[in-house]
């Protein structure tokens, strides 16, 4: 063997390769979870009010959002309008829909390409730097709709800017087994939480517990249901001036009640429900009540008509502080990389589609799945014809947002919602039976979030 051969023999080659492979493993394990992309360009200042708006004719706008998987008809309404409107205005609108849309939106923002209009449901505050102020569209809708309900500015306004246009709200109403309640002598679901508890205890004794998603594993139910109880007992996360007020006697009262409800009337698994678990449990006949939108009733009508006939809906019961509903808001926004003709086209398309004249078809197709945020819809023919969903019309003005009673959402409030902190509070209280301990734990979490923001 020559000296030169010794420089790169099999062993050296393997060693070098092992070093490379190890480097790959190391880099893969420590690489950022976020897409590795070039740093963002500074936001296009004043993009919303471009001085010389070019004609939108010939523009192409890209829509990026999650599909309406539960009710594909909603996507059909959007697509049909877009096709027609695009043809009339010589604008091409393309749609990209993905259930895991968050990384795609973030990639579009960071790369400055791939999307103009986005559809999302979590608070827009995390994209605040990347969204165009859409106050002109909001002003038009607000004017024709009789003024937005408080839910809308709360979720959408940040530092005086409308980050998006809310397209409606999901409301949680009580889904209950009418036949089982009749056996207990009830014609309808009780009006108060205390009455609901005493009924629930009777039902649980017969193996028909409630399924209250007191959980931090469900982004929808876990944010909504605990707040129905929290607010009914006078607890809330924030004061109107922005100060935190979760650690209060009212919150402890709500938690103590939730613990009783869980122990005496609840499904033991409800503290670990994900968003589909209560639907599945109700459809399987394992629980007698759960707060939800119409995503139990509509599938039951289709696949289990007997169950659909034996269930009904009611408003959330009242507590010492009153009756409260919860609304979560899907929204559309325009990314600030959109400029010129595309920006004009995106704004014009949103203003046209979301106007009362055109958007009623969307609500109608939803059959109560998504409700309006404008009071003038009260008299529009958009409400479900099915009498068992008639409750939707009463619900839509009742709902409050997560973070109540803040007038506008803050980053901390958005994180509390994103991380399902109130769901965790109720889950911990019900799992351990220790309301004070659960509240102390969650206050530490909130302190962490405050520190990190």
């Amino acid at each position: 063997m020559t000296d030169r051969k010794q420089l790169m023999n099999r062993r050296t080659f393997l060693r070098t390769t092992a070093l490379g492979v190890t480097g790959v493993i190391l880099a893969a394990c420590t690489a950022p979870v976020a897409p590795a992309v070039a740093p963002t360009a500074a936001p296009a200042a004043g993009a919303a009010a471009a001085p010389a708006a070019p004609a939108m004719e010939g523009a192409t706008i890209k829509f990026l959002g999650g599909p309406w998987s539960f009710l594909p008809d909603l996507d059909i309404v959007i697509d049909s309008f877009a096709a027609e409107w695009g043809k009339e205005n010589n604008v091409t609108i393309t749609f990209e829909r993905d259930a895991q849309v968050l990384p795609k939106i973030q990639t579009a923002i960071e790369t400055g390409s791939g999307a103009n209009i986005i559809q999302f449901s979590s608070p827009p505050a995390i994209f605040a730097n990347a969204l165009v102020d859409v106050k002109e569209i909001v002003a038009q809708l607000d004017s024709e709709g009789g003024g937005y309900l408080p839910n809308a500015p709360y979720q959408m306004v940040s530092e005086g800017r409308w980050l998006g246009v809310p397209i409606g709200q999901h409301n949680w109403f009580i889904n209950y087994r009418e036949d089982w309640l009749k056996e207990e002598g009830y014609d309808a679901f009780p009006e108060t939480w205390e009455e609901a508890l005493s009924l629930g205890a009777k039902l649980k004794a017969k193996g028909r517990p409630y399924g209250m998603p007191f959980t931090d594993l469900a982004g929808g139910d876990g944010n909504a249901v605990p707040r129905l109880v929290l607010w009914a007992f006078g607890g809330k996360e924030f004061n109107a001036d922005g100060s935190l007020t979760l650690d209060s006697q009212e919150t402890l009262d709500a938690l103590e009640f939730a613990i009783r409800l869980h122990n005496e009337a609840g499904d033991p698994g409800e503290v670990g429900y994900d968003d589909g678990a209560n639907n599945a449990a109700f459809l399987a006949g394992q629980i007698s009540m759960t707060p939800n939108v119409n995503t139990i009733y509509l599938p039951a009508k289709k696949n289990n008509p007997e169950l659909a006939a034996n269930m009904n809906h009611a408003l959330p019961p009242q507590g010492p502080a009153g009756r409260f509903g919860y609304g979560s808001l899907p929204w559309w926004g325009i990314l600030n990389q959109t400029e010129g003709a595309e920006l004009d086209a995106a704004k014009a398309f949103m203003a046209a589609f979301l106007s009362m004249k055109n958007f009623g078809a969307f609500y109608k197709a939803g059959q109560g799945y998504i409700l309006p945020l404008l009071p003038n819809y009260d008299n529009e023919p958009i409400w479900p014809e099915d009498p068992k969903l008639a409750i939707a019309k009463e619900m839509f003005k009742l709902a409050l947002p997560a973070g109540y009673a803040l007038p506008n959402q803050t980053k901390l409030a958005a994180l509390i919602q994103d991380k399902i902190v109130i769901g965790k509070l109720f889950s911990q209280a019900c799992s351990t039976g220790d309301a004070r301990g659960a509240l102390d734990g969650v206050m530490k979490d909130i302190a962490d979030l405050e520190l990190l923001t």
Binding site: C29, P32, L217, A277, Q286
Partner: protein, 310 residues
């Protein structure tokens, strides 16, 4: 045409030819595509992540250098201390159990029995099955309401009066997570250990038997020391993978209940992607780096020692 012009192609060709025929340079030439690929695809994201961890980078906003602020913030949160503790517990228990299970499996598969090849192939199933799919099945098995195990233990047989809170209780949730990781990882350990055991010369084992060694003694005093380099490498590679595990806790528990199963990668994901705080998320991943560097160095030393033994 002058001499220089005429001689240049010949000179270039001969240089290339010389390089291709020299073992010392040929190796580097062959390695270069892989090296360039690694630099572009791995080194750039890595160094970009290092840079981001020292900035206040948020989604859609420019990154501003903030020094060690992200790290000091993280160190003062209970979320991070819980993440570190959870990751240590998860990795330690999962590795010990995978080692024990893998060794037992390797020894068992080394014995001759009918259907040995079929069993070997079947045992690999958990490892080759996509994690998303297998975790989805386990999430049904451990489901808070529809768990088949609870159905059998509580409803069907009445052996338990209350369902087991697989994913509801903090300790049970971590135990469930570790169990699935072990279930998924044991086949790889087993097959790798089996290959190492089979490379041990049967003559040595025979000689030990003739000298009166028991099977137990023969295994621990002869076989195990001989497969030790493989054991060390497998353990180290698995430590890196387990410490950075994301898909299993993300799909099964989302880090809950009460952050009891939040691991490094999941915390980084929730901070960077869900909350838009890219800089903080990058800082979480960077805190793993020193540990991983130590493990990789140990791993490389082991590889080198094994090569020297060869």
């Amino acid at each position: 045409m002058d001499f220089a012009t005429r001689s240049q192609p010949r000179s270039l060709g001969s240089t290339i030819s010389r390089l291709l025929h020299k073992d010392s340079s040929l190796g580097y030439i062959l390695l270069s595509p892989g090296f360039i690929f690694l630099t572009v695809m791995m080194a750039y994201p890595f160094f970009y992540a290092v840079y981001l961890s020292f900035t206040d980078k948020q989604i859609g906003a420019p990154a501003n250098f903030t020094g060690l602020l992200n790290y000091t913030k993280l160190l003062s949160t209970t979320l991070f201390s819980k993440t570190v503790l959870n990751s240590v517990i998860y990795t330690t228990f999962a590795l010990i159990l995978k080692f024990c299970g893998g060794l037992a499996l390797g020894v068992m598969l080394n014995r001759q029995f009918i259907g040995q090849r079929v069993v070997r192939a079947l045992l690999l199933l958990p490892w080759i099955m996509p994690t998303v799919f297998s975790t989805m099945i386990w999430s049904w098995i451990f489901h808070p309401t529809f768990s088949i195990i609870n159905d059998i233990l509580v409803t069907k047989t009445g052996l338990l009066s209350e369902p087991v809170p697989f994913l509801l209780d903090e300790t049970w949730a971590m135990a469930s997570l570790i169990f699935i990781n072990v279930w998924r990882g044991v086949p790889f350990f087993g097959i790798t250990f089996l290959a190492a055991i089979q490379s041990v010369s049967p003559e040595i084992i025979e000689a030990s038997k003739i000298d009166g060694a028991s099977p137990w003694g023969s295994f621990w005093r002869i076989t195990f020391p001989m497969i030790l380099p493989v054991v060390v490498i497998v353990m180290l590679i698995s430590t890196i993978g387990t410490l950075g595990d994301f898909d299993l806790p993300f799909l099964l528990t989302r880090g809950g209940p009460n952050n009891a199963t939040t691991l490094f990668a999941l915390t980084a994901y929730t901070l960077s992607l869900q909350s838009g705080m890219i800089g903080l998320g990058a800082a979480v991943t960077m805190t793993m780096f020193p540990v991983l560097v130590v493990l990789v160095i140990v791993s490389l030393i082991s590889v080198r020692r094994q090569q020297q033994q060869d």
